[in-house]
């Protein structure tokens, strides 16, 4: 019988817990109206960035395409000409497509980029009615003219990119460009 009494007390405790929970404020954030603030390093949809003067940061180096484990990036580089100086370097990306259905949001492209041109931002509302609508092109990726943000680069790398990156011409780069961080070279004599 005392076991039964103990059981009854346990039942009462359980009931009181659920009742007290009922009086608590729900933790739900009602989504479309209210949105949760994501951490700065959230890896959502990609954004291509610009410099202050409106030129594109992307120099069409194909490093991101090469590093992408999912093969989600497709780039067609083109030469910059005197009349048509699209990016800061010698070349620019004429076509820049990201297949959001293939992308695994690993962020390797962001790490590989020598000019901090591509970043993964907080936009996680990635959905569409057709496959085509999720193959996004340069127009959708590029931030609008007149804006020059760094995006999550600042969150990943507290030091802002050096001003010399503005003049990146492909002649020198660092291990940071391929996602290894700014480490001293291990092999003596090896160039950087």
């Amino acid at each position: 019988m005392d076991e039964v009494i103990n059981d009854l007390i346990a039942l009462g405790k359980g009931l009181s817990i659920t009742f007290r929970n009922m009086l608590q404020k729900p933790v739900t954030i009602t989504y479309p109206e209210n949105k949760r603030k994501f951490p700065a390093r959230t890896r959502g949809r990609h954004v291509l960035h610009r410099y202050e003067d409106g030129r594109e940061r992307c120099v069409g180096c194909l490093l991101c395409q090469g590093t992408c484990p999912a093969g989600a990036i497709y780039i067609e580089p083109a030469e910059n000409t005197k009349e048509n100086q699209v990016s800061a370097g010698e070349r620019h990306a004429r076509v820049f497509d990201v297949d959001l259905l293939r992308c695994i949001y690993c962020g390797h492209c962001e790490l590989a980029c020598p000019t901090n041109a591509i970043t993964l931002e907080n936009n996680t509302a990635i959905a569409g009615y057709t496959r085509e609508s999720l193959l996004i092109h340069k127009e959708e990726l590029l931030e609008p003219k007149g804006t020059a943000t760094l995006g999550s680069t600042q969150a990943w790398d507290p030091k802002p990119p050096s001003p010399s990156a503005a003049e990146f011409d492909g002649s020198e780069t660092s291990s940071a460009a391929v996602g290894q961080g700014n480490r001293p070279s291990r092999q003596p004599g090896a160039g950087h």
């Binding site: 019988m1 359980g14 659920t18 929970n21 729900p26 933790v27 739900t28």
Partner: protein
């Protein structure tokens, strides 16, 4: 047929329709209320998009269920397959016919309107008999689906309902013995017309707390609600006896479950909580006092309290195992009910007053606890 008889007939039909509509509306909003309350107990919000605060959610669900495809397994027995949900729903609705929602008939436009559909002198027997027919709906549904999970669910359900019906009956007999009548109206009047201390009245839960506890436990099991929802244990059986049902046929099973919940809540209210009785004030002092004394609103309040308890239990307790279920029913509820019945019978024979019953029940419990403490076995070392 005389005009009076015709009038009586029409009155009963109208009341029956009103009760059914009220019950089904109640069902619709119980699903909504249940989802909202369970959600709050789990720190969620629940359905809040359809209409203001999600109040039109039941309508949306109803429309969805109406237009859903009516699936039926190829090997199912069509006739029984269609009949089963109807049995469940009809039985559930007709059980409600004998519940009085107020104390006395009301005079309206020169007619005396009785606040119950019918008031047979064997109301309790009728209710127990009718509600135990509900198991046919479940068994036939499970069998006609030609699905092993449905059949297993149906068998579990019948075993459970039959076991707990016994405990339920025993628990109900004790208070009815005190009243000395099987009519719900007498039960209500007894509780409202006599005082607890000087007479044999007062809410019967005061005189029969053990019977109330047993009744409520058995009732939860009777209507297959959590934590006794083994017949529809999703993790083990798909969805139990209604695995193969969809659309409106499924909705009928669903309605039957909720209407049954209303019925057992109403019986608990009527038998143990004084039915439509409210505060002990003199009702001859005006309308306000009349409303404070008794009325359908009190009845509804208590019924909804019990409905809330159903939801509360569901949100709190995990499902019992099958052996636990049987042990609780046969080794705990039934013997306790019988002991309680014996004590009550002695009391009735000796013409005790209400509070003496309470004392008797209390001393019975104390004696049981003391005895079990004396008899305690030495602790067994745990070998795991």
């Amino acid at each position: 047929m005389t005009l009076e008889a015709l009038g009586f007939f029409v009155g009963v039909v109208i009341k029956a329709v009103l009760f059914s509509v009220a019950l089904l509306t109640g069902f619709a909003y119980m699903t909504y209320g249940e989802r909202r309350i369970v959600a709050r107990m789990q720190w969620r919000v629940g359905p809040n998009k359809v209409g203001p605060w999600g109040l039109l959610q039941p309508a949306a669900d109803g429309i969805k269920l109406l237009f859903k495809e009516q699936l039926q397994p190829k090997e199912a027995k069509t006739f029984l397959f269609v009949l089963a949900p109807m049995i469940s729903l009809v039985v559930a609705l007709s059980a409600y016919a004998v519940i009085p929602i107020d104390k006395d008939p009301v005079n309206l436009f020169g007619y005396s309107i009785e606040p119950w559909v019918s008031n047979p002198s064997i109301a309790v027997l009728y209710l127990l008999g009718i509600s135990s027919l509900g198991v046919y709906g479940i068994i036939l549904g499970g069998w006609a689906s030609n699905n092993k999970y449905a059949l297993l669910g149906a068998i579990r359900s019948s075993a459970q309902v039959i076991s707990y019906e016994l405990a339920l009956g025993t628990a109900l007999v004790s208070p009815l013995l005190m009243v000395g009548s099987l009519s719900f109206r007498d039960v209500v009047n007894q509780q409202l017309d006599h005082s607890y201390l000087t007479g044999d009245g007062g809410w019967l839960i005061l005189a029969q707390p053990v019977a109330f506890f047993l009744y409520w436990t058995a009732a939860v099991a009777e209507v297959n609600r959590a934590p006794f929802d083994l017949p529809e244990a999703e993790q083990e059986l798909g969805a139990g006896y209604h695995t193969e049902y969809s659309g409106m046929k499924f909705a009928m099973f669903f309605m039957a479950e909720y209407v049954n919940m209303f019925t057992v809540s109403s019986v608990a209210t009527t038998v143990f909580l004084g039915g439509p009785g409210g505060l002990p004030v003199d009702e001859s002092q005006g309308l306000l006092f009349r409303l404070l004394a008794h009325g359908p609103h009190w009845f509804l309040l208590k019924v909804y309290f019990f409905m809330f308890v159903f939801i509360w239990l569901r949100a709190t307790f995990p499902r019992f195992r099958y052996d636990q279920l049987m042990r609780i029913g046969w080794q705990f509820l039934l013997p306790l009910g019988l002991i309680n019945l014996g004590v009550t019978a002695v009391g009735v024979a000796m013409q005790w007053k209400s509070y003496q019953f309470t004392l008797a029940v209390a001393s019975m419990l104390v004696t049981l606890i003391a005895l079990s403490m004396l008899n305690r076995k030495p602790e067994q070392p745990d070998h795991h």
